[in-house]
Subunit: 138 residues, 2 copies
DNA sequence: ACCTAGATTGGATAAAGTCCAGCAACGATT
DNA sequence: AATCGTTGCTGGACTTTATCCAATCTAGGT
């Protein structure tokens, strides 16, 4: 993840304690935190960090293509740091747990021209829904 | 759409002016209104209808499987009355326009067991993103 | 060490949705 | 047609999520 900071610096990002902390908090696979969760964890490392800064930083990371915004059906947006290996999501309908998945096939190829309504289609997002093993037990 | 009202009545839904109006407002293809938009249009037909009722009714329609909740990336959830013909969505990244699309292939079959993490997968939602002809012109 | 563009802060505000207590009315029954 | 129990409706308060902004601070170049 420190390569992330390198890359950002290369793009003229001014490095601050706050931004470093947000980047640290987001590291890892299967990480899909809400802005508030990011803020809570950031505060643990840097008590004075403000909510606004967390929102700003997340927004910038999304704009720069380093982090993906994931809208599962929950109320709050979630942020996915795994932007460089394309993947989709599997969501538990009961507890909201999210896993990264890599389906075979290419959904992009499955949309015929006749179904594109003249759009220039650039991206697909696939969300699988189901019940996770934990919730199935209960 | 009046068959919808029939079906609901058959399921023990008590019929009221408010519910009728909400159902009317939702009729049609490529309809993806936010709760607030539904409320605005409902008010035009029945001035006293309250926001809470619109939210309640939409929630019930979703529970009954008559309407789908669509989370594109906008802030507000949208409601899609076309629940009985399965379909996916194509969203303009600029203006937010939404079209119903029917891709070929079955994304469900593209998720191998090894990528299911023990989940019981029951549903897939595919969202294509791009730029619509209108926005492309500008 | 200094300077300035850019970043941070926290509080106000907005937008979307939920909750609740009291009133209204659907429709089954007689 | 009148009654009545149950369910639905209302409107306002409240919660959650997110954005805006003016004042203040700081990273990093010189």
């Amino acid at each position: 993840m420190s390569d992330l900071l390198e890359r950002l610096r290369g793009r003229g990002w001014r490095m601050t304690a706050q931004r470093r902390v947000v980047a640290e908090v987001l590291a890892g696979d299967h990480v899909h935190l809400t802005a508030d969760e990011v803020h809570a964890r950031a505060v643990a490392k840097l008590p004075e960090i403000s909510r606004a800064t967390v929102y700003n930083t997340l927004g910038e990371l999304v704009t720069l293509g380093e982090v993906l915004e994931v809208s599962t059906d929950k109320r709050a947006k979630r942020y996915d740091p795994n932007a460089h290996r394309p993947h989709h999501h599997l969501v538990c309908a009961q507890c909201g747990a999210i896993r990264d998945v890599h389906p075979t096939g290419n959904p992009m190829a499955d949309l015929p021209d006749s179904e594109r309504f003249g759009f220039t289609v650039s991206d697909v997002e696939v969300t699988y829904r189901g019940v996770c093993p934990n919730c199935a037990k209960a």
